[in-house]
Amino acid sequence: MISLAGRDILHHWTKYVFTGVGLGLLIGVTLSMAGIYRGMVDDAQVLLRSSAADIWVVQQETLGPYAEPSSVRDDAYRALLGMPGVADAANVTYLTMQIRQGERDVRVMAVGFEPGRSGEPPFLVAGRGVERSHYEVVADVRTGFRLGERIRIRRQEYEVVGLTRRMVSSSGDPMVFLPLKDAQEAQFLKDNDAIVNERARTVANPGLNRPGVPGLLDALLASQTSSRSVNAVLVKVASGHDAERVAGNIRRWKHLEAYTWRQMEDILVSKLIETSARQIATFLVILAIVSAAIVSFIIYTMTLGKVRELAVLKLIGTRNRTIAAMILQQSLGLGLIGFVIGKTVATLWAPYFPKYVLLLPGDAVRGLAATMVVCAIASLVAIRVALKVDPATAIGG
């Protein structure tokens, strides 16, 4: 049996392929937009995964540490360690800042962690972890830092000893992991000029700089430059204990806010990135509708362009079923070519996006199904037109 659709395509194959490519690029854009949305959600969740915590303990009445600023005394973890069901508690700090690298500024999220405890990078792609308690960092490869490079954070120089990957903040800034004490200093200690000015102000205050009380001024100045806070305490729950209950205990007795994994995910995904994610999602929906419309129009016009051939077919007595099958096959073929090209280009250009683009296989399958359905529906309209063609058109003008 001769495939009518195949014959027709062979006849106009350049036109057919170019139409497929155009369609493919459109589908590629739609898939990428879906990838951007998924990537955005994944960026928010990667924080949770990298923390490897069951409970986040933060300042009371705040949605910290990611969605709101939070400050907890750095000895609070000791009290938490004594709570029933707490297997481990580790201090962490988070600070989004700019780091200079040669000519350019890199925007990073500096994570202060205690080596060997929760909050450290879960895997490395090169180098080693932080072993010294000062002046070493592990950086995300997206920062562009290389092993052995020395970077400056506030007043100290740090050596990049390890590289990790896909460690970003919820806004997509790559992370830099540094020892907790250094991170506290970077976050809470003022710059040198500020310290000097503050000292001068204190010295000029006659109430504080009293000649009859030697030592008072020194003590005051020393107390001004100490920093004893962290942003959150990551708690691991001992096996056999319910995270919800442990978090409830912490909330009740320690006057701190405690979020479980589920609550924190809720905060990150549905609060922190809510508007921007909805923005992308809305655009994705519009793009999908526009794509579907364009696909339908292309198939419709393609059929319209073949009115004379269809009339000839009808004239020689081709059955309606054969004509309908031809149009449907062509339409589905066009959809398939479009999807393959779309998926290919989306995969190829995904790494060049500045933020993470996550192309899920499930999304691809859904995209394929949607393309096929849209193509089938579009072909129905085209088939209706084709079947209505008057065979006389073949002979007449």
Partner: protein, 394 residues
């Protein structure tokens, strides 16, 4: 017809190639691709460990030199950086009335010496008088027995003699009082002299002046310092080491000190003392590290990075620290079995500063383990072993 067949075949081949390319692309990249990892083979070998800490250069023996009583500074004889001998005069406080009081005290002392001499002479005079009166009394008494004198005359002489004795006693008591007076005034004079000496501020030991806190004319309260000095023999780096890693530190261990002013230039030293008192707030142990040879230019309060060599083993099984992961509360490493990952729990020992962790049990020499991976691994995942992942930019 022939051309048509060629075109059909050509298009079919082209389509097939494109489809194969598409499938390959899907399998090679994205979530379906195997995880790229780097591996290492375990070997037994030498293991050296060290601990790292941050310290400040300080003098253990520092002296604040100031007056013991309120006063005004008269003169400061040395400046910051001066090297001073033990006992050298560094500064003087204004003595105000002390000189006049010293002169008065000295005069009073001298006068007391004279008063003592006068009292001595009076005693001698009383003695002579008493001797004469006693002799007369005895003479009258013996003549009175023979009735040469009346009883009244004898009694009068005896009374004279008794009176002279009492006068002698009084004179002796006066002599004692004058002697005591002299002692008292001498002591007072010494006290004033001491006070006078106290306004001269001298160096307690040999050392270097590090601060000049007050200038002549300034009024100070007791306890405020005029100058501060340190004993250069007691210069050390007060090093703070994380409690969690301070276990192996002992006095006598070799240390290398990098002063912040000269990065990359290590100075040799050694641990002189591990302090018994730690810092409970910062959770750090305090270790005193001395320089083998004191650097020429350093500043007190300067930051220093101190690395102390703690332990070494000759035949130790160690893995790169990046290979050790925690999975469901257990520490272990990932290995590759039939192209897929498997988690092997291990018991780990200390971690060295160069990023190696000692494996106590769970692995043998010759085992191949995963060190780096492009993402977090799960059990049973397909992996592709590559030489290095360092070139990754995303």
């Amino acid at each position: 017809m022939n051309r048509r067949v060629v075109r059909a075949v050509g298009l079919a081949v082209l389509g097939l190639v494109l489809l194969t390319g598409f499938v390959l692309l899907m399998v090679r990249s994205g979530p379906l691709a195997p995880v790229r990892v780097t591996t290492a083979v375990l070997e037994r070998g030498a293991f050296e460990n060290a601990v790292f800490g941050i310290g400040t250069v300080e003098a253990e023996r520092a002296y604040a030199i100031g007056p013991t009583s309120p006063g005004r500074i008269l003169a400061v004889h040395v400046d910051v950086g001066s090297e001073v001998r033990a006992g050298q005069l560094l500064a003087e406080m204004d003595p105000v009335e002390l000189d006049a009081r010293l002169a008065a005290s000295r005069a009073a002392s001298a006068r007391a010496v004279h008063a003592l001499a006068s009292a001595g002479a009076q005693v001698r005079d009383a003695e002579v008088r008493q001797e004469l009166a006693a002799r007369n009394a005895r003479r009258y008494a013996s003549l009175g027995e023979r009735a040469f004198f009346s009883d009244a005359a004898v009694e009068a002489k005896r009374q004279e003699a008794d009176s002279a004795g009492a006068q002698l006693q009084a004179a002796r008591a006066q002599l004692d009082a004058a002697r005591m007076d002299l002692q008292r005034l001498d002591a007072e004079r010494v006290a004033v002299e001491r006070q006078r000496a106290n306004v001269r501020l001298a160096a307690p030991v040999a050392g270097v002046v590090t601060a000049r806190d007050a200038e002549p004319g300034t009024t100070l309260v007791a306890g405020q310092s005029v100058l501060r000095m340190v004993d250069l023999a007691s210069v050390r780096v007060r090093t703070r080491i994380d409690q969690g890693r301070s276990g192996g530190v002992r006095a006598g261990q070799a240390a290398s000190i990098v002063l912040r002013s000269r990065p990359g230039f290590a100075v040799a030293g050694k641990v002189s003392r591990v302090e018994l008192n730690g810092d409970a707030v910062t959770e750090e142990r305090i270790v005193q590290v001395v320089f083998d040879e004191l650097p020429k230019d350093f500043a007190f309060g300067e930051l220093a990075e101190v690395t102390i060599a703690t332990s070494r083993g000759a035949d130790v099984l160690a893995v790169p620290g990046a290979a050790v992961h925690e999975q469901d509360g257990r520490r272990g490493v990932w290995t590759v079995a039939d192209g897929a990952t498997a988690f092997v729990p291990v018991r780990t020992g200390e971690a060295s500063l160069d990023g190696r962790t000692v494996v106590l049990e769970g692995l043998q020499a010759g085992d191949r383990i995963i060190v780096h991976s492009e993402r977090e691994l799960r059990a049973g995942e397909r992996v592709a072993v590559v030489e290095s992942l360092e070139g990754m930019r995303r």
